[in-house]
């Protein structure tokens, strides 16, 4: 009993140490965990698989480095699927500090898959004023993106010649760390009937379930787990799958701490009741 009472007053630094160990050790030891694909993630994958060759897919980078471990693996897995199926990614950025992350992922996978810039994919970079852009792309993408991220005119790229508005985009995939996706659903989806798939940070994924249930988005990839599922689907397990062991063990340790904390709480409560009874 004393043990549990002492445990209830444990220095928080021990908790930090335990969490650090269960996060770092699995990354070093790399234990294998089977990743089962959930329906919302499968739906995104299946929708993209059915797109005709040559379709344009607009990818919106709406995250920054804080969400990199959750979003970057999905971006890379998604790009592998797009290039493999001869689909054409058009990358735009709504979170300025996400621009280099989007570029990094796009260039890495394009090189790996042998894709050619301007013909198979394009990077339009960041423009301020996301709502204005979302409405503006419904009319003419050039109103906001006259040039690509290196200031080269859009019309000089073969793949952009026939791309003008949402009618020329088969799917919009938003990689979201905040609430920008609400505007995508409201404007691109609600007004222009643009098909949308979302990848959200784990913390905000539950918020998007009603858009998934109502059919306003074709599918939903939630957090690093969702990214790991996508890596399994594209048959290229990478960073997200590697992170699953850390996430599993850290969840387990937090649960154990909660259980221990509650045992200590009930023992303490019982002792207080006894003292009160005397």
């Amino acid at each position: 009993m004393n043990f549990f009472l002492k445990l209830s007053k444990i220095d928080r630094r021990f908790i930090y140490l335990f969490i650090a160990l269960v996060v770092v050790l699995p990354l070093i030891l790399k234990p294998k965990f089977p990743v089962v694909v959930s329906k919302p993630v499968q739906d995104v994958y299946d929708y993209i698989e059915k797109l005709p060759e040559g379709s344009n897919v607009l990818i919106s980078i709406d995250y920054d480095a804080a969400s990199m471990p959750e979003q970057q693996p999905f971006l890379e897995a998604l790009l592998r699927q797009l290039f493999k199926n001869k689909l054409k990614p058009i990358l735009i950025v709504q979170w300025q500090l996400g621009a280099p992350l989007g570029t990094m992922g796009l260039e890495k996978i394009a090189k790996e898959m042998g894709a050619e810039y301007g013909k198979d994919y394009i990077n339009l970079g960041y423009r301020p004023g996301y709502v204005a852009q979302m409405v503006g792309i419904g009319k003419e993408i050039r109103d906001f993106f006259k040039v690509d991220y290196k200031n080269i005119p859009l019309d000089s790229f073969p793949m952009m010649k026939n791309v003008h508005n949402y009618n020329d985009i088969a799917l919009l995939v938003g990689l979201e760390a905040g609430a920008t996706y609400l505007a995508w659903i409201e404007y691109a989806g609600g007004r222009f009937k643009q098909k949308i798939a979302l990848a959200l940070n784990a913390v905000s994924a539950p918020d998007a379930y009603y858009f998934y249930q109502s059919g306003q988005i074709v599918g939903l990839v939630g957090g690093m787990k969702g990214a790991a599922e996508y890596e399994v689907l594209v048959d290229k397990p990478d960073l997200a799958v590697a992170g699953m062991a850390s996430q599993s063990y850290s969840h387990l340790v937090i649960i154990l701490f909660i259980i221990l904390g509650n045992i200590a709480y009930f023992i303490e409560k019982g002792m207080k009741n006894k003292e009160g009874g005397k």
Binding site: I19, A99, G129, P206, I255
Partner: protein, 212 residues
Amino acid sequence: MLKGKGIPIFITFLTGMIMIISFFIPHKPFGDIEKISLTWYSIIAGFTMLLGVDSLIGMHFRKLKRKDENWFFSLVLIIGFTATVVVGIIETVRFGTAFDERSYFTYIYNYFIVPLQSTMFSLLAFFIASAAYRAFRARNFDATLLLITAIIVMLGRVPLGEQISPYLPKFTEWIMQVPQMAAKRGIGLGISLGALGVSIRIILGIERSYLS
């Protein structure tokens, strides 16, 4: 005649009506008006950032001047802020974009901003663990229900849950899609109706607290 508070109330009414009409009739002239309004909004939002910068730098200058507690961090912030802005401007002039591969701004981004942002966000894991241990108590029926549900979802959302039982992820998905959704929808509808009500009150000039 419009005078005093009547002018901003009229501007608010007019702008609100234009935005509502242009949402439902996105054709000329409303579509163009909406586009222009949204561009104006972006420009104004850009200026609010200047206000934020002014407030942030002003506060840290005062801390530094008074040698308040932790004044050294204020110095780090001011140096970091100034260096990033100066390097950003120089590199934009040199390469046409601050994020060019060869620019020092990209170096600052890769080796300062990325690790700092990642660290800030990852610290959450430690704080959540510590807070859950200290505060997540089965004090009553509601708290116990929340605690049990949280444990199921935490296990069901990671591959470990699948190893414990193949039904755990399925049950977690059911929790996410049914009870969680029911509560979220209720909250969402409440918030939306509230926002709608407040918006109508502002447009009609009934709610004027934004003027004070």
